[in-house]
Amino acid sequence: MFQRLSEAGPPTLPLTIDGNAALARPGDSVAATLIGAGHADCRTTPVSGSARGPYCLMGICFDCLVEIDGRPNQQGCMIEVQAGMQIVRQEGSRPVDVEATR
């Protein structure tokens, strides 16, 4: 588990994680927000359904994929939090909207 140093300042930005109200520190990435909130995991894999969480935090491992404001497969470590953002941990592969493809 990670803790916040006091000089980083308090989290003040309102958003939601899995539909639950949460506060984020302005300037943080989505992945840092999840880690700071005590979530080591952020998704399950499309291949085996095993749990994964952020690994590299520099944009190359793609293990921190989450759904942000309805868009799945977003790199949580590369996106800065915004007020009102809806962060949802994602399950398996992205569903295909069959109707929309017809």
Binding site: F2, E7, A8, G27, D28, R52, L57, I60
Partner: protein, 480 residues
């Protein structure tokens, strides 16, 4: 200049990556009057070594250390120079057009095309894969990732953190934790204790007269305050159901388990070669660094005309050597586009070459001493090799026994290396595994042939590219 909103359609030079090499290259090129743009994925400059140097909430200088704050000067020079700086911009494809290139760049979900005459690739380093059992469990992260959390968000490990691995970054991060008043439960040192320094005695003199000796001694002393160190760790395993619960290791003839909530892994850095590889730059296997390294000449010129490589992406040498390499690469670019001649390049580059040589001294010793042991590079059994496609060491070896001869063929056997990370966290492991099983060498087996786009993009981004009449005709066959 400060970050640009709109991209101009063409430049003489594009620099990829705003770490020390990329920033220094952009500044030096702009000073020579070269029309330059610097593209970087991150929202603020600095690369990973100076990550968040303009935004970090940790303003107490001693916390992140003087070497970190050195990056502020590079950023100031970048923002004060004539080069355009494009943050949050991913260059995902390069196409040769005549003597130059067309770059496909995505910013905020919209793709653009930019023409350039010359390219400096300064994509830096990434942490070496550390394929141990359980390394995909939530709660297992790289030491570099923990350092990014510290620099950018002031987040530090709490109770139940174990650090494991080897390499110069480890004492640096532990010293930063100690300065922040943080300690970890244990530091499991996997550095082999095989008296390899005897084989490296020639490099000892270089190291002893390098700037790294004094820095290293001071760091090791300060790092000691961050936690109990277990030396000679011979095996390592992360265990847990859905997330890490404990780490099992073997040292001094004993197998020990420690309960933990976080495991931070690190065993050195390797060049981030995906971009250079996809352009077609020749690369070689470096046996001491145990990684593939692009082939460059003394000025950073790659095997592909018009492409210069700079910094750790051209071979691991550290931030200060990368900075000098950036200045060298800029002169090579200026020479390649005819702004200066080779004699002027040699005269103007002498200082940067001497600076780089100074920061290269002693590196070989560090490479030898911290070369990870085989069991941490070449996994066995059900240990995951390819994190994206969840391919195990056993599967890789089985496909070799079925006749698979190399990493590219392995893709069609197992999809290994074909997930979103595009081989960044399995490429070295796969090449070494195949080489071992076939009684060959990674040099002979080679690395994945990587292809653009080097990062996943959406169809929407592709569709946002400007269309020509010919491209529309190719798809919808409009009546002429």
């Amino acid at each position: 200049m400060s970050a640009v909103d709109a991209l101009k359609p063409s430049f003489e030079l594009a620099v990829i990556g705003a770490g020390p090499a990329g920033m220094a290259a952009a500044v030096a090129a702009a000073q020579r009057g070269v029309a330059t743009i610097l593209f970087d994925e991150q929202a603020s400059p600095g690369g990973q070594i100076y990550r968040g140097v303009t935004t970090t909430p940790l303003r107490r200088r001693e916390l992140l250390g003087d070497d970190y704050w050195h990056g502020q000067g590079l950023v100031d020079a970048l923002l004060g120079c004539a080069a355009d700086y494009a943050p949050r911009s991913i260059v995902w494809a390069v196409t040769r057009i005549g003597d130059g290139f067309e770059l496909a760049v995505s910013r905020d979900g919209v793709a653009h095309l930019v023409r350039v005459a010359h390219l400096i690739v300064a994509t830096g380093a990434q942490e070496r894969p550390f394929p141990i059992p359980g390394w995909t469990l939530p709660g297992v992260m790289t030491v570099g990732a923990a350092q990014i959390l510290l620099k950018t968000a002031g987040l530090v490990p709490g109770d139940g953190t174990v650090v494991a691995g080897s390499g110069p970054l480890l004492p640096l991060v532990l010293a930063q934790f100690a300065a922040a008043g943080v300690s970890v439960d244990a530091v499991l040192d996997t550095t082999p204790r095989d008296r390899r320094w005897r084989a490296a005695w020639r490099d000892v003199i270089g190291f002893a007269t390098s700037p790294y000796l004094a820095k290293g001694v001071a760091l090791l002393r300060r790092a000691r305050a961050a936690g109990r160190v277990v030396r000679g760790v011979e095996s390592l395993e992360a265990i847990g159901d859905h997330r890490i619960e404990r780490v099992r290791y073997r040292a001094g003839g004993q197998t020990i388990e420690l309960a933990c909530t976080s495991l931070l892994l690190h065993q050195g850095v390797v060049p981030n070669i995906n971009f250079a590889n996809a352009i077609g730059c020749e690369q070689r296997w470096d046996e001491v660094q145990a990684c593939f390294v692009p082939v460059v000449d003394a000025w950073g010129a790659s095997s592909v005309p018009g492409v210069t490589l700079a910094g750790d992406g051209a071979g691991i040498a550290g931030a200060r050597a990368a900075e000098a390499h950036g200045r060298i690469a800029a002169l090579n670019a200026a020479c390649a586009i005819g702004r200066i001649d080779p004699a002027q390049r040699a005269a103007a580059g002498a200082a940067a070459q001497a600076d780089r040589a100074r920061w290269l001294r002693g590196r070989r010793f560090l490479d030898v001493m911290y070369r990870p042991a085989p069991q941490y590079r070449i996994p066995v059994g059900d240990t995951v090799v390819c994190r994206c496609e969840e391919v195990t060491a056993r599967q890789v070896l089985e496909s070799v026994r079925l006749g698979c001869t190399g990493p590219n063929q392995m893709k069609s056997f197992l999809r290994c290396g074909m997930g979103p990370c595009q081989g960044r966290f399995c490429g070295l492991t796969v090449s070494e595994l195949i080489a071992k099983e076939r009684g060959s060498t990674p040099a002979e087996i080679g690395h994945y042939r990587l292809r653009f786009p080097i990062k996943p993009i959406t169809l929407g981004e592709l569709a946002s590219l400007p269309q020509t009449e010919a491209s529309e005709q190719a798809v919808v066959r409009l009546p002429k």
